[in-house]
């Protein structure tokens, strides 16, 4: 039992403007960063599968750099150091949101490229062979045959990445981005209570992730190729150790 619980405070926090806007900011940041990371990660994955040694080295270095360093450190670099290197980043357009977007995208792209690489490699090489025998170009084979089949494989790990990113957005509170956790901590420090403001934030995260899980299950069915879309119960999300990036 909670020692004291002010349900009125809890509900007013839950429905307050700062929480709602903070959650929206967190969600927006997650989505734009994820989409950018998928695009960048796709090309990094192609690079790491390239037959050219130089291209593979560039891809490898990218992954090494962004996976071996803490996300928070990268965020500090982008927000504080970058404007001292190039003056354009010292201007007003370079908001905390944009800085967080750039950082999380570049960071996530490194992880995403490995997921996409695994997805591409999981497609039977016979599929490509058949495409070439028909006279399809490499690009057509990739677009029509290999990528759709790889998508099926990468949906569950990409779902994991979405969740990780959503939680990483709270790092951006440090560069004064008004996201969800900022709303909660501001409330705790103004009211000197913890239970209600933190629980309200927790509810927001739970709701966002729950919606994602429903969407993911739908997407997986969409990429299952049987004439009656298979109705298997969505497999439980495997327990993964807490992701400390």
């Amino acid at each position: 039992m909670l020692a004291s619980f002010d349900s009125h405070l809890f509900w007013s926090a839950l429905s307050s403007g700062p929480y709602w806007r903070g959650a929206l900011t967190a969600l927006e940041l997650t989505i734009v960063a994820l989409v950018t990371a998928i695009v960048v990660g796709f090309f990094v994955a192609l690079g790491s599968l390239s037959s050219r040694r130089g291209t593979r080295t560039v891809a490898w270095t990218y992954n090494w750099l962004f996976r071996a360093t803490p996300t928070l450190l990268q965020l500090y670099f982008v927000w504080y150091a970058l404007p001292t290197w190039w003056h354009v980043f010292a201007q007003s357009w370079f908001t905390p949101f944009i800085a967080a977007w750039v950082t999380l995208s570049l960071n996530e792209a490194a992880y995403m490229s490995e997921i996409i690489r695994a997805g591409l490699l999981s497609v039977d090489p016979g599929q490509e062979l058949a495409g070439r025998a028909l006279g399809l170009s490499r690009r057509q084979i990739l677009r029509k045959v290999v990528v759709p089949q790889a998508v099926r494989i990468i949906i569950p790990p990409v779902g994991n990445e979405f969740i990780t990113l959503l939680k990483l957005t709270s790092l951006a509170s440090i560069i004064s981005l008004h996201e969800l956790l900022t709303a909660a901590t501001e409330l705790t420090s103004s009211k000197f209570v913890y239970n209600e403001p933190l629980l309200a934030a927790l509810v927001y995260y739970l709701v966002i992730v729950s919606i994602l899980m429903v969407l993911q299950a739908r997407l997986e069915r969409r990429f299952t190729w049987t004439s009656r879309r298979r109705r298997v119960a969505a497999p439980a999300v495997p327990a993964i150790p807490h992701d400390v990036r």
Partner: protein, 233 residues
């Protein structure tokens, strides 16, 4: 006049010679069956003919020029149907993407070829839902719809359950009767006996012997062929 020709073809992988100076041709309407132990270079020869592999030396030609996409059809041991497309989608794919046909025209032609190989009722099914024999017949339709000048079959029945072999061989036999030029790598010696214009024995990356089927099976000239036939029959 030959349709499909390989002249002095060499191919090696990592220093291993898989094809050693193979010269070989198929005349229009001929069916050539290639037999031989695994590792003898049969599949590699087919892949060179289909331009899936570039020979290290020598040339492959179709009517004395380089084949265009889809002009040499290939059927694989493991079918290799596109898993993300229905049977119909598989057969339409080449028409849409390579031939750039409009959708309705591609669909009509694809349906005609699915009917031709007896799987029209499976048009909207995905490969995963079809038996091996049905998948292989869809794969044959996918190659045929491109109107190839020659068809290559790489052990088309080796991955099939015994009772499904017949339906695929029947389709191949009727193709042969219609005058399709074919090169078939297979262990189905009865098919070779019935349908082949000539049978080739490959070993160690070379063609050891070529003869009409009656002669090849009853009176092989080469010791290597005799040993092989004694083992498989």
């Amino acid at each position: 006049m030959s349709v499909l020709r390989a002249h002095g073809v060499h191919k090696q992988y990592d220093g291993l010679e898989v094809l050693r100076d193979v010269t070989f041709q198929v005349d229009p309407g001929q069916v050539k069956v290639i037999v031989g132990p695994s590792g003898s270079g049969k599949s590699t020869l087919l892949r060179c003919l289909a331009l899936l592999e570039e020979p290290d030396a020598g040339t492959v030609s179709l009517e004395d020029r380089r084949p265009l996409p889809g002009e040499v059809g290939m059927v694989f041991q493991r079918f290799n149907l596109f898993q993300n497309m229905t049977a119909l989608g598989n057969v339409m794919c080449g028409l849409r993407e390579v031939r750039r046909l409009p959708k309705t025209e591609a669909r009509d032609q694809a349906m005609a070829f699915l009917t031709r190989v007896g799987v029209a009722d499976k048009a909207s099914q995905y490969p995963e839902e079809l038996s091996g024999g049905q998948q292989q017949r869809v794969a044959i339709a996918r190659a045929l719809v491109m109107r190839p000048k020659a068809m290559l079959f790489d052990e088309p029945t080796s991955a099939l359950d015994v009772e499904l072999v017949r339906e695929v061989l029947d389709v191949m036999e009727s193709l042969a009767h219609e005058g399709m030029t074919m090169v078939v790598v297979t262990h189905e010696l009865r098919f070779a006996h019935h349908v082949a214009s000539s049978v080739l024995m490959m070993d160690g990356g070379q063609i050891v012997e070529e003869a009409p089927p009656e002669e090849f099976f009853s009176a092989p000239k080469e010791e290597r062929t005799r040993r092989f036939l004694a083992l498989v029959e």
